[in-house]
Symmetry: C2
Subunit: 400 residues, 2 copies
Amino acid sequence: MTQTKLLREQGVTAPAGFRAAGIAAGIKASGAPDLALVFNEGPDYTAAGVFTSNQVKAAPVRWSQQVLKGARLRAVILNSGGANACTGPGGFQDTHATAEAVAAALSEWGTETGAVEVAVCSTGLIGDRLPMDKVLAGVTEIVHEMAGGLVGGDEAARAIMTTDTVPKQVALHHKDNWTLGGMAKGAGMLAPSLATMLVVLTTDAKADAATLDKALRRATALTFDRLDIDGSCSTNDTVLLLSSGASEITPSPEDLEAAVLAACDDLCAQLQADAEGVTKRVTITVTGAGADDDALIAARCIARDSLVKTALFGSDPNWGRVLAAVGMVPFTIDPDRITVSFNGSPVFSDGAPMPGAREVDLSGADIHVVVELNQGPGQAMVRTTDLSHAYVEENSAYSS
Amino acid sequence: MTQTKLLREQGVTAPAGFRAAGIAAGIKASGAPDLALVFNEGPDYTAAGVFTSNQVKAAPVRWSQQVLKGARLRAVILNSGGANACTGPGGFQDTHATAEAVAAALSEWGTETGAVEVAVCSTGLIGDRLPMDKVLAGVTEIVHEMAGGLVGGDEAARAIMTTDTVPKQVALHHKDNWTLGGMAKGAGMLAPSLATMLVVLTTDAKADAATLDKALRRATALTFDRLDIDGSCSTNDTVLLLSSGASEITPSPEDLEAAVLAACDDLCAQLQADAEGVTKRVTITVTGAGADDDALIAARCIARDSLVKTALFGSDPNWGRVLAAVGMVPFTIDPDRITVSFNGSPVFSDGAPMPGAREVDLSGADIHVVVELNQGPGQAMVRTTDLSHAYVEENSAYSS
């Protein structure tokens, strides 16, 4: 990707053939922006999507999974201020009505669109019905706004924020004159399961649905699927990739995969840096496992351990807690062959602590934990954060 | 157990044939009590033990597992102030030397004892060698203290405390004139894996090792194995059951099992109530699973979820987080058939919230969450706590 320029602006409207908008529709009591639209002007309408593996799926997830089975994805409507999860048949009807309203407004504007070409994403508190009067009025307004010529990637990225403190966008300009853009939201309830947040990626590259799907699944498996803030998996996670083909360039599958991976990786780093209560950006790398999958399991065991995470909040190089966490993996390890390092300083080797292990400086904002199991070629990295007072505060004082 | 009296005093010295002591040997820098001894005067020396399933096992666990393979368990020496885990071959030699010193001191006192009849338990920070000069001097002192006639169950229970704020003891006096006693320590790094803390149980009932073993495994599976404070499993967990036979009464296996279960259950409740940072005592009950094992998996998924635990800290009936957690179980569920209740108030049923679901009062210290899956006869209960500021404080500001 060295010949490609990565920026963090414009996002979904960086590629040709996409418009977007973000407005305050009154779904959030605060009056903050809460409704976003991403619209594909074509000429192509191919798309791919990955969704939460949580068995409790929100109505918009179930709707969008159906939409992705169709041939075309014209538009994505996204709201914050309510997850529309666990809301029964009425909640699903609300999602359907939202897609119908978007399709009707786009058709009225002159782009004949069916509801089955409109994906829906929602985020916010689980369990409440959406205020549909506000959603439907907002849909009319946002389509008018977009039709007025707004190229509103920035506004869309702001409108999907919940506990996020900053919008997350990326734009990759490939040297061969095609572009990949994206936006993401997500700060808590982040744990791997295909994807764990709302993400919309757009590209003006030409690619068929199978190529998009392969590139997206590979990228999410290596990025969003390895971001684990709290082990809690959302009911609403959705990652969509839309192609307009407007560049009229068909990149090689390898170039497309590399671009999608780079965009997802950058959005993932932005999500980690803005996670709920974060004071430390932590990467857990496990090497020397029997297979990559085993390494990933071990890395997640460590990344989810509350005692490891509170120690890191305290800048405490408490490597014993890392050992205790890795000792719980469901495959056989040999503790005497494990080595552990913090920020490059070895702290444990040959079954015993290294000199100076308790004095490693972890006062900075970035902490790298590396665990070498010494039993094979498998390796994996997981991004996480510390477990701080702010995390407890945000998730106890605020119903989200 | 209605004809049996349960008290929370004396603990391991409540049954006939046991002596104990607890002293400050200088292992802890604070000068607090840190060395305990439990001694079986016989005539029987049968015993059973369960140990952590963590693959990273502390030296005293590996030593005591060997001791339990022998015919007799004479004494248990326990220290706080250091876990002696991840300390290499030197750490194991320290454990061995401690057992040798106890055996020598007891032999000198007139009770011919071998090191292989002495179990060792340690608790505290992982990764540091113990100050063996203090441990060995302490062993001599504690055996003298005990030989002096002290029946020191209370002192022993205090000497094994780490972040515990109160000692935990239990004594069950059976109507047939035999007694079961016990002590426990443990406040964090509590997660199910046979057992998750140091516990010594004693009885003057006569029972062979197989009977003791069966009663202990059944009881720990239903009690300590279902206490999950933070999902973190210790390297040092040990539960021992020693029989002196001094009552000369051989209870039925059923009576013995019931007594061991009742004692473990009571100690478990004491551990939960004194867990690190606890402000809420939480029980998660899952019913209607295909099998008890599935119910247990689901209950643990909920009990370990940071977002559920922070919501409960905030007295927030955020049932959507319970649904999101249960949606991650590795077996198939039907979200539309699940019902959830908080403290007896239904909050979710038929795929949608119940009226008043957001107004359930969770301001008290005890919270009962019941999840009915409606797919079979399986059920299980897990004890946990909330995730509070105090938990974060205790585990970030204190290297433990």
